[in-house]
């Protein structure tokens, strides 16, 4: 196993302070190293630093050796020109923006090929490069916008590898893709790594994915390495409280837990936690000594390292078995609150139906999960439910405790159905204070402004937040406010459209627990829409699986996820990262 690249004491900093500090990496030919971290951990900056593509005003230092020769990180274009593409290539997250939209795929792949003057030769080389990533030669003549996300990412991989690099830095290469496509792309990267003998750096926020795909991993938090080691060992016996907490906050796919473990608070900025253990503020086992200095990465043997002062104890502790949830009781599908029958919708100008004869039922106090990939129609369903879109055919009937006030068309009376969207950053009006936003929503339900503190308390936020503006809040806090706004008029049904999928795992767990609690406390019915099977396992009592606008399977969650009847559901389950290993 030869070392292709080694970095010692890698630092990245901007004028505003340090971004990444003291990172050591060793990349070996034919292996994958995962750099795992939540947003703000600095993981993408590591990739940018190692490809000489840091943004303006951001600088990197450190001793890097590439194929036995020193590499100057601060070097100019002259240093990097022979390195990029030929020795180190970077694959970006979003295949929809990483190719030029007005150029055909062939020339874009060919551009990185080492000089081949002859046209026929070039065409042959492009065809070979495309074949290597499993694409037809005629893709060369297509434009990126004519291809699916997965195909575009294959073209991008072909382009990245055209000049034969020994190191591939893959920055969240599958985050923008559907789960079933994700698996295929990760398989492809794995195969190419083996066949070409490349070293792959997989940068990801997903611990399970890292465990499944990487040989070694580095856990990054607030710009610091907290733990390193062989992926499987680290995951089965974490030697740092953060790794452990992150692992436990990850919702399991195979069973439902009583409550998800959470990490309190938010990811800090590196400058805020300099000179002490960066995780101290959120660590359940914190001691005074943790804040007195920055713990160094301790060698624990067997290739493992941890930056915890109590790493040995941590390593010795038996893994805590999560408390399983009791079997679901009390949902009443015989007394539905919403009944959807034969709902259809085709958007103007579209050739396919967004919704095709959808039947769905939500029982009183029940949480109904809707799963599917992009284009499955799940978001259209949500928008029809809250009246943001009008269906072409079919019926949405609000029954039971929901009595829509005199709308024969069956549109929801506004205050009875509310929604929480995906993106916390655009969920709140930036021009209004949190208090004003909530007061407005309260007024809809005929409640006074003085109820704002109570509402904030309901979602676990202090009353002082009423005076703040959205930009002063973290993503998780904004999503809590969005939930509070939705609850303000006293709805009986809450629609959550991918409401936690933009959040970091540690924050996601907090919000999921909150939703759970609110449901029990307020007797809410929930329609929980998600692409994430593990999250749906935790939340839903009954689940519907959607594919191209149709419901292909539905049933109690345990039954559908554990014994899927439809091929598509089986494919979805098989694609979840870490599924194979989680059963151990």
């Amino acid at each position: 196993m030869s070392t292709v690249l080694s970095a010692r004491d890698l630092q990245v900093r901007s004028g505003a302070g340090p971004i990444v500090t003291g990172v050591d990496l060793d990349l070996h030919a034919g292996t994958t190293l995962a750099v795992v971290g939540e947003s703000g951990s600095g993981k993408s900056m590591v990739a940018k630093a190692l490809s000489g593509l840091l943004p303006r005003g951001v600088h990197a230092t450190g001793q890097v050796e590439l194929a036995g020769a020193p590499l100057d990180l601060a070097g100019g274009e002259r240093t990097w020109a022979p390195v990029r593409g030929r020795q180190i290539a970077l694959l970006l997250q979003d295949p929809f923006t990483s190719l030029s939209p007005v150029h055909r795929c062939g020339p874009q792949v060919a551009a990185a090929l080492p000089g081949t003057p002859d046209r026929a030769q070039r065409r042959g080389a492009v065809a070979a490069a495309l074949a290597e990533v499993g694409l037809d030669p005629d893709v060369a003549r297509r434009y990126p916008f004519e291809l699916s996300g997965g195909m575009r990412q294959r073209v991008a991989i072909a382009a990245a590898l055209a000049a034969g690099p020994q190191v591939l830095l893959a920055d969240e290469p599958t985050t923008a893709l559907d789960v079933t496509t994700q698996r295929a792309i990760l398989d492809l990267i794995g195969e190419l790594r083996t066949s070409r003998g490349m070293a792959v750096v997989l940068i990801t926020h997903d611990l399970e994915l890292a465990r499944e795909r990487a040989d070694d991993l580095v856990v990054l938090y607030a710009g610091r390495v907290l733990e390193t080691g062989p992926a499987r060992d680290v995951m089965s016996r974490p030697a740092h409280p953060y790794t452990k907490a992150l692992h436990e906050a990850n919702p399991p796919l195979e069973h439902k837990v009583a409550a998800l473990a959470v990490i309190e608070g938010n990811v800090p900025r590196p400058a805020q936690v300099a000179g002490r253990c960066v995780f101290a503020d959120r660590c359940p086992k914190v001691q005074d000594v943790c804040r007195e200095g920055e713990p160094a990465l301790v060698d624990l043997g067997a290739g493992r390292g941890s930056a915890c002062l109590f790493a040995a104890q941590e390593l010795a502790a038996a893994p805590t078995a999560p408390e399983l949830a009791p079997p679901v009781l009390g949902t009443d599908r015989a007394a539905p609150v919403v009944q959807i029958t034969g709902l259809s919708k085709t958007y103007a100008g579209a050739t396919t139906r967004a919704l095709d004869d959808v039947n769905l039922l939500v029982g009183a106090g029940e949480c109904v999960g809707v799963v599917g990939e992009s284009g499955s129609g799940k978001t259209t369903l949500a928008r029809c439910l809250v009246g943001l879109e009008r269906a072409d055919g079919g019926q949405i009937r609000f029954l039971g405790p929901l009595t829509p006030t005199g709308d024969p068309a069956g549109r929801p009376a506004h205050r009875l159905v509310q929604i929480v969207f995906q993106d916390p950053y655009s969920a709140l009006d930036p021009a209004l204070s949190i208090g004003a936003t909530l007061a407005e929503a309260l007024a809809v339900g005929g409640r006074p402004r003085t109820d704002v503190p109570e509402l904030l308390d309901l979602v676990g936020l202090p009353a002082t937040y009423a005076r703040r503006r959205p930009h002063a809040l973290s993503g998780g806090e904004r999503q809590r406010v969005a939930i509070a706004r939705a609850l303000a008029p006293g709805p009986s049904l809450l629609v959550c459209d991918e409401s936690v999928s933009a959040l970091d795992v540690s924050v996601q767990a907090q919000v999921l627990n909150l939703l759970h609690e609110l449901r029990a406390r307020l007797g809410l019915s929930l329609v929980f829409i998600s692409h994430d099977m593990a999250v749906v396992r935790q939340m839903a009592d009954h689940v519907y699986v959607m594919l191209r606008g149709r419901v292909v399977e539905d049933g109690p969650t345990d039954q559908v996820l554990s014994r899927p009847a439809h091929d598509y559901t089986r494919a979805l389950m098989a694609s979840v990262p870490g599924r194979a290993t989680q059963e151990q």
Partner: protein, 316 residues
């Protein structure tokens, strides 16, 4: 098929727009205060007979729409009526003036594009540098400075003080013509070049920040190859703003021609307004409308050629 339909729709839209514009242009006749017949008579003595003759000739006693139809069908066959001021055919008057304006605007356009586009690209590539700031400052001044003010300054410095260029006249031989048009063309080009700088710089900056540029650099493409990628992409917004540029050019030429006493369409328009020579005003306005609409059409068709996405989705 979709492509053909989309081009067809675009042609219909252009025709509709021109029709609406021609209607507005025609109604200028009725916007002018006072009796239409008297206005059309101009400086000629207004006897009851001559007024009656004018009414008869222009069909002023007929309904408005009929008059419009007469005027439009005339315009379509190249008959734009008679100049109130000189009594000669408007078409002839335009014919004498159009050549100079064409030469002036083309010259200014070439200068503006030749200076503005490279400067804009350079500013974007050196974003934040002294060079960028200098270019942007010059562009701000260029956009803010009216063509006639620039013209007067140029006239004063290069014609009056230094005597390098003629103060007025149009020149006889082609080279002499170029010498005479140099200052006006620069005055006209100054604002236009500034606009080109702004549009180009913004477009290139946006492309430079996009993922595909990072990815192209990450896989070791030469700076030249990377530039080819983003310049093609940046060309699209620049191209779409061509209509704006042309409008700016035609607006400016009126002032510049007046400043340099050049007998072109612009000064013709200014004079005709002073003399309330409505048929000529109508004609010049119509010509400009036709040129700009056709240019916009050409730009759209060109976008179709450059941007495969538009080719797929059709023109909007």
């Amino acid at each position: 098929m979709r492509l053909a339909a989309s081009i067809g729709r675009r042609l219909v839209a252009t025709a509709t727009l021109l029709l609406a514009l021609s209607f507005l242009v025609f109604s200028l006749l009725y916007l002018a205060p006072g009796d239409v017949a008297r206005n059309l008579l101009g400086a000629r003595p207004a006897s009851p007979e001559s007024l009656a003759a004018i009414r008869e000739k222009f069909g002023l006693d007929q309904p408005f729409l009929t008059q419009y139809w007469h005027w439009l069908s005339g315009a379509l066959t190249g008959d734009l009526g008679e100049s109130v001021r000189s009594g000669s055919q408007v078409t002839d008057v335009l014919g004498q003036r159009v050549g100079l304006t064409l030469q002036l605007t083309v010259l200014a356009f070439v200068i503006a594009l030749g200076v503005g586009a490279p400067a804009g690209i350079r500013a974007a590539r050196r974003h934040g540098s002294v060079q960028d700031k200098t270019i942007v400052s010059l562009a701000v001044v260029g956009v803010a400075a009216p063509g006639f003010a620039v013209g007067l300054v140029l006239l004063y410095v290069f014609a009056v003080m230094l005597g390098w260029f003629p103060v007025y006249g149009t020149g006889d031989t082609p080279l002499d013509r170029l010498w005479h048009l140099a200052l006006p063309a620069v005055a006209l080009a100054a604002g236009l070049a500034a606009l080109v700088v702004k549009v180009t710089r913004t477009a290139v900056l946006r492309e430079l920040e996009s993922d595909y540029v990072t990815f192209a650099r990450a896989r070791g493409l030469t700076p030249r190859a990377v530039a080819r990628l983003y310049l093609t992409n940046a060309a699209i917004p620049v191209l779409t703003s061509a209509g704006l540029l042309l409008a700016f050019l035609f607006g400016g030429t009126i002032l510049v021609e007046t400043t340099f006493s050049l007998p072109g369409l612009g000064s013709l328009l200014a004079e005709s307004i002073t003399f309330k020579d409505i048929p000529v005003v109508q004609a010049v306005t119509l010509v400009v409308a036709v040129v700009i609409s056709l240019a916009a059409l050409a730009v759209d068709l060109l976008t179709l050629a450059v941007d495969p996405r538009v080719r797929r989705a059709g023109l909007t």
